[in-house]
Amino acid sequence: MQLCLAIPGRLEEIRGKSGIVDFGGVRRTVDLSLLEKCKVGDYVIVHAGFAIQILSEEEAKSTLDLLRQLEAATD
């Protein structure tokens, strides 16, 4: 494993402090105890078997928008 390689997956089931996360077809049990709250359907970043954050779709879109803004600012 790569220590800092944390990968996103979709949280499919919650079973107490752990959950089942789908990484593009591969399902693994993941510890959820580092998250304040989470719900089924969230995309979580998983590092060494622990979910460390929920990915924000809105923020992902705003980062993609950054390129257009930067291009406009330098025209």
């Binding site: 494993m1 790569q2 220590l3 800092c4 390689l5 944390a6 996103p8 979709r10 499919e12 089931e13 919650i14 079973r15 510890d31 105890s33 580092l34 998250l35 304040e36 089924v40 359907g41 995309y43 970043i45 590092h47 060494a48 078997g49 622990f50 460390i52 954050q53 990915l55 924000s56 779709e57 923020e59 992902a60 705003s62 980062t63 993609l64 950054l66 390129l67 930067l70 291009e71 330098t74």
Partner: protein, 369 residues
């Protein structure tokens, strides 16, 4: 327990971050705004180096923009003395669990893999939860050799807070990125015109620990994600800051919140305190390590088994990993690279670990530009 119905599934499409068209547009923008002088941007993350090398990002950059790898591989900066202690424990005292990256790195003479070949009890796990599940107090004591930066430390802390099995202890070798960057800049050991901060360390600690870099050292800072577009956008941001003044910019806001992950940060504070730490090939960096707080000292394997750790932060003879870790030498500039030192027969830690710059360059054809 509740299962998700198909129609409830949200879609999170990250493929634009890998889009060739968007990456080339960002690279064109970078070429347009790059100044004439050379700018050297350092990242401190093995996964960033992996993305930069695998996607050939250096070949897209204008020649004056250089991306160099700093000390971003936790296994590579773990000192031989710590590895030797783990070997001693696995030989004499307990079953030793660790992450796979640590398994092949040589200490002062041999690695944990070599020690296992000689009969020492060493087990490799993906997650600390697996080690807890495999630990068997009846069969004997267990020790977890816990390495890694701020991303891994809260996992150790969480496991400790929720209670560990009987006769389970830890070698704590966690290291911290922001204090290391401060110490390196302060000492003049590294030269950089901007720093690309690691996305998942920052997911835990947030953006504020880097403020000091921009405010006191005037170094442009960007926290970057792990897709090719993230890296090139981050370089555009660093060039902008070079022109307009340093700040901390969070390019990876889909994962990094300004406050980080408060629960994880709290767990780190509850279980650990900071200490000065030796970094292999670099030396002692003030407040750049973690150790167990007094109330958890009975979980400290080095105390439990009375292991005396003598200080040793040397690299193997002839190995240039120290210079590679500080970004002052490219892997291909090391005379051993690809001849005496290969992934099959590594000399230094940067060729052993999957996060090591030398291994990444060897496997993915890394070059300076």
């Amino acid at each position: 327990m509740r299962r998700l119905r198909t129609e409830e599934r949200i879609s999170l499409d990250l493929s634009p971050f890998q889009s060739r068209e968007l990456v080339e547009r960002a690279a064109a923008l970078l070429r347009r705004i790059a100044p004439k002088e050379e700018l050297r941007f350092m990242h401190v993350c093995g996964t960033h180096e992996n993305v930069v090398t695998r996607y050939g990002i250096r070949s897209l950059l204008p020649p004056q923009i250089r991306v160099v790898a700093g000390p971003g591989c936790p296994v590579c900066v773990t000192c031989p003395a710590e590895i030797d202690s783990a070997i001693q424990i696995a030989r004499k005292h307990a079953t030793l669990f660790t992450y796979g990256d640590m398994f092949g790195v040589p200490g002062s003479s041999i690695s944990l893999r070599d020690a296992r070949g000689e009969g020492a009890r060493v087990k490799v796990v993906y997650s600390m939860a697996d080690a807890i599940g495999m630990a068997n107090p009846v069969a004997g004591p267990s020790v977890f050799f816990s390495i890694g930066f701020e991303t891994t430390a809260p996992i150790t802390a969480s496991v400790i807070r929720s209670g560990v099995p009987k006769d389970f202890a830890f070698i704590v070798s966690h290291r911290l990125i922001p204090p290391a960057l401060v110490a390196l800049l302060d000492s003049g050991k590294v030269e950089m015109d901007g720093v690309i901060c690691p996305g998942h360390v920052s997911t835990i600690i947030g953006t504020h620990p880097y403020d000091v870099l921009a405010k006191e050292f005037g170094v442009p800072v960007v926290i970057s994600g792990f897709e090719p577009l993230d890296i090139v956008l981050s370089l555009v941001e660093l060039v902008k800051q070079h022109k307009r003044g340093a700040r901390v910019f969070n390019e990876y806001s889909r994962s990094v919140k300004p406050e980080g992950n408060p629960r994880a940060r709290r767990l780190i504070d509850e279980v650990f305190e900071t200490c000065d730490m030796d970094w292999r090939g670099i030396g002692t960096l003030p407040s750049s390590g973690l150790r167990l707080r007094e109330e958890f000292s009975d979980l400290d394997a080095l105390k439990k088994y009375r292991i005396r750790v003598r200080r040793d932060d040397r690299m193997p003879t002839g190995c240039k990993c120290s210079d590679v870790l500080l970004g002052s030498l490219s892997p291909t500039q090391c005379p051993l690279f690809g001849s005496r030192c290969t992934p099959d027969s590594p000399v230094g830690p940067c060729m052993v670990s999957s996060e090591g710059t030398c291994r990444t360059w060897f496997l993915h054809g890394g070059q300076d530009s």
